[in-house]
Symmetry: D2
Subunit: 354 residues, 4 copies
């Protein structure tokens, strides 16, 4: 059985013939696996916390959709069911016990394809039914591979709803129609954020430090949002005319955080999701802004099973409304191993068909 | 009528004989006014947003307690009532309209003694009854001058309660007895924070970059908290043994924020109140920590009338339990104008007796 | 211009030729108006709080969708836009001022077609742009008439989300898959509730005191919910095997409330929306259950502009997923005045085409 | 060792010489135990859910304060510490696991002195340190026996704070000074509620169906609240002039609930704590009011360890402010067994000194 494997401490990833190590659970035939920044970091030996399940090899891959081949003892699943597996598996802390390993207190969890558990980039995998979600809508067999990145957006939404309840912060007519949402980034995660948040009625701006491809520009236009190139001359003007009320960062940069707290309106909300680790370009105090404007900031990582369920709901309900298919700019075979390490020009999301 | 006045754009502050400019409202004879960092900045020409009410002179002072001399048309107040006046006065935004000028959206407010409104460092002042709070407990005539800084703590508490409801974050027995609270700073505001938060059952640590006076050490010991000198050799060890779950910063430093996100436990809560503007010592990305640990951060400025009311309640109920009196390390006369600009060694809070 | 009119204090409703009384605003040509229980009560002289806008005649109708004929001075709307008008218009209280006339404190509001303001059962009406919502999706021109009843469901959802945050009440895997939701009623409002709440992953049961038509049974089956006839012999057994965790009442009966508090699980949530005024059949104390089980109960009336917006979003996103069209069991002309007063057998929703 | 014992199924309670059945834990010498309605019901064979720990005898008593005689293996407690024991002990459900047995999902808990666990009406008892709370303030050795009923008030407060966050419900100046709180009942629990809620700045009214003793009237006056006799002629007038915004019921009556939903203002909050089981006097539909006014109702039973901690904090901080001592109208010896079954005229709280 083919799998894409990382030897810990060794360069690159490779295809290898493997056996199951799991004896029990539901057996799933993998349909598609998505490739994301974390996989790229693994392929490029840049993810410090990678950890094998046993021995020194890890099957990678954490974004997947598959089809039940053998339900084993499961009552919930039957052969032919479309399913999405969860990435993070609970430890023993108080929040893990109530289904919130996404808020794990002590870090004692495993993540499929990343740390301590083999992932889904293999022809088949076995899993405990409690970490599988059924996808009833067979029409989303392909775009359903976007469930995993979309569940992150659902937790971001949950975090936004929480922070927005700090004060009656909405417009005078109870809506968000007078509020500006800035999304930093224009990759697949940022675009999924723009899809989900466009259902809340914000004026949405996606921002990047360079122009975007026509395809991305067209996706952004299609949902009624605007693109802003922060390297362009008129960026500051545009920003001043439409100061952000909410900022969601899908990049991961202290520089973006610095500028965000400076530019955001009073009572502004900033949600951080990206982790690229960019430094500040200018050493400026940011605490004064946070205090004087009553700014609320929250990091959001991973998502709960409920967030996966919401993601499937969202993709299924909106499959004709948002161009999920356009996010998938490439479909390759497992053997095409170079595509994991290196992002194509104008790629949004590359997925592997098994 | 004596007042302490700042001429905008001119060095220092001075005592001047003044008249009322307010014709209506409750007339209050000032008992005490507190001197805080903002007053010091004014005296040292370091507060950029200072603004006169009319002309180019501003009566300073925003921490006060006084006694009603003439209630005017007020039904609520009578001669002899002890009262505390509010600093910030509402503008026309949605949050100002519902009593939350502390969350003012558009910045269109005035602040007594700071921007656009004469303050309380004068023998008498007149005010609208709706910006006055009655102090029923005559025993707190002197320490009641601490109401204004304590109302900030009440908003910090409100902010903490909000952020702590993000996930069931308390200990397994429903209390906070297993959680560590770090307070950065050891001045009057930090000590008031320690008094208020000690009623929640945290393990409390106050931190500064230098040793503290015996008096401050003794106040800290008295409430069962610990002092940590972050310049000492064993600081890192102590920190590692008792990693923070909640951090409240009363200093205002991006460096403290940088270290806080690095050291805080998962799901940690950081509340920023200080605004001294210190820069980062080391340019390090902080967003990764915020994301991976689901950290929540909120700025908190000023406080609502309800926060003033809670502050009076707190001081009155706890006057024998917490050493409020020990926070007042000096009482001077209005003429002692040098004391406004310069903090004494080992001073915690200096107040003026009118 | 034809309108359906109620003469206050006189029997029935009638068609009458009328003129605009509004001089300003957006002019809308009515496409459809829905008929609901309130309209029936008006037609049957059973609504005590009915009030004319001026004189003693009221144009009725509060569920409508129309098309902009003349935008007047509006920047937001242009000729040809599909729009839904709001029913309740704000008074001067604190909550009305922040767009929450649905939580009006002092009752000083008007409601189109019900109290103090002419309604939408007329060929054309004029309205202030701020009380109109744009419907971008032209495919929901007909089912868009369900926006008004669906906005009630959105407020019910908001109320549910609020009450469900009292304790970490979800299942051990963070979802609601182990929780039973009972909806009392099987009319159009109850069915809309079942559509919306089926997106949360509950086990849903709709309950009525009599069997339902095949059509209703088929709608219920279609969303994966179950119907329970509370007059049937095995009802008690079924209830005992699947005790409710959440109850939403679309009927309005103290008897249902009495039984709900008796049967619901600990920490149960009850949301009341119906107002039919049925009495208790058995005088039994209900407070003991509410206390011992920590039950939370909330009434929910009307909805905010945000709830209307969410309703349009929901109908548009789910137009192919939920059988909104099947809820409209009859379309008649304005002249067919008898249909307003009397519900047809097996009718779910009757609408008027203008 | 003397204990007060109930033989299940047999009339009355009696003093009996007993031995420990607990081998481990902290040994506590009982100082005082309070007698409450539940104890009276037990003594009068009127508590259906009473259950022995083993055999068919139960040591009763659940309100206690004692002194550590032998800390056993405990690190937290030492000989001489003043402690209060908790009543309800967790089962295995999700909420019990996170310290919220007060919200137990499945009812699988025990309660000392009530169901499944021997109580504190004995000279000494042994307990697990995790169910004991330290009382640092030695001055509240006697009134500390009120901790258990006060912890119920702390949960009521927690419930109020939760429900009051449904909408920005406070007065236009952010306080509750314009809001009326009605407390039904004038017994010890109602008076403790009035103490705690008087710190929130409400206009408080205590209501009973008969006049109260001079002592109770004087306690009510002392905290600035008013007493209303609902059997008096001018009650309806007074009620109409000061309609309730918040109602806390310490009685337990469907009749009170019926009248509450009728009289309360829009967005009103009702918290039910009493469980006396009184029926409605008039069969009237109550759901209409709950819906039209957006009323929120919550039952509140028991309290968490955090609520006990808050209760001790409250009693200690306010020992000189509120007349806790006046609530204790009688102190008797264990042998005075008749006093458990029968309430004295004008009794507020009777306690036993061990």
């Amino acid at each position: 059985m083919k799998a894409i494997v990382k030897k810990i401490g060794q360069k690159g990833v490779f295809v290898k013939d493997t056996d199951f190590i799991e004896n029990l659970g539901v057996t799933i035939r993998t349909l598609y696996t998505g490739v994301c920044g974390t996989d790229r970091e693994i392929a490029n030996d840049a993810l410090p916390f990678i950890r094998a399940e046993n021995g020194n090899e890890l099957i990678i891959g954490h974004e997947a959709i598959g089809i039940v081949e053998d339900p084993g003892d499961s009552d919930q699943f039957k052969k032919g069911d479309l399913v999405v597996p969860m990435v993070r598996r609970p430890g023993k802390c108080q929040l893990c016990k109530i289904g919130h390993q996404d808020y794990c207190i002590d870090g004692d969890f495993v993540e499929a394809g990343i740390r301590g558990k083999n992932g889904f980039m293999r022809e088949k995998f076995r899993d405990d039914e409690k970490f599988l979600l059924k996808v009833k809508d067979k029409e989303i067999q392909e775009i359903g591979v976007l469930t995993e990145p979309t569940k992150n957006v659902m937790k971001i939404m949950e975090t936004f709803k929480f922070l927005s309840s700090r004060v009656p912060w909405y417009c005078g007519d109870s809506t968000f129609s007078c509020k500006n949402l800035y999304i930093y980034g224009t990759g697949s995660e940022a675009l999924l954020i723009s899809f989900v948040f466009s259902t809340l009625g914000f004026n949405i701006f996606l921002v990047n430090r360079h122009p975007v491809s026509d395809k991305i520009q067209s996706i952004i236009n299609g949902i009624g949002a605007s693109f802003l190139d922060s390297s362009s001359e008129d960026y500051e003007n545009k920003l001043s005319r439409n100061r952000p009320d909410v900022i969601i960062d899908a990049v991961g940069s202290s520089e973006i955080l610095r500028k965000s707290v400076e530019k955001i309106n009073n009572n502004g909300i900033i949600i951080l999701f990206g982790t690229s680790g960019q430094l500040m370009e200018k050493n400026e105090d940011i605490t004064g802004y946070i205090v004087d404007k009553n700014i609320s900031i929250a990091g959001s990582v991973d998502g709960s099973k409920e967030n996966y369920r919401e993601a499937i709901e969202f993709i299924s309900s909106n499959k004709n409304r948002f161009p999920f298919k356009d996010l998938i700019t490439g479909i390759g075979s497992p053997e095409n191993i170079d595509k994991i390490a290196k992002k194509d020009k104008d790629e949004i999301k590359y997925i592997i068909k098994w």
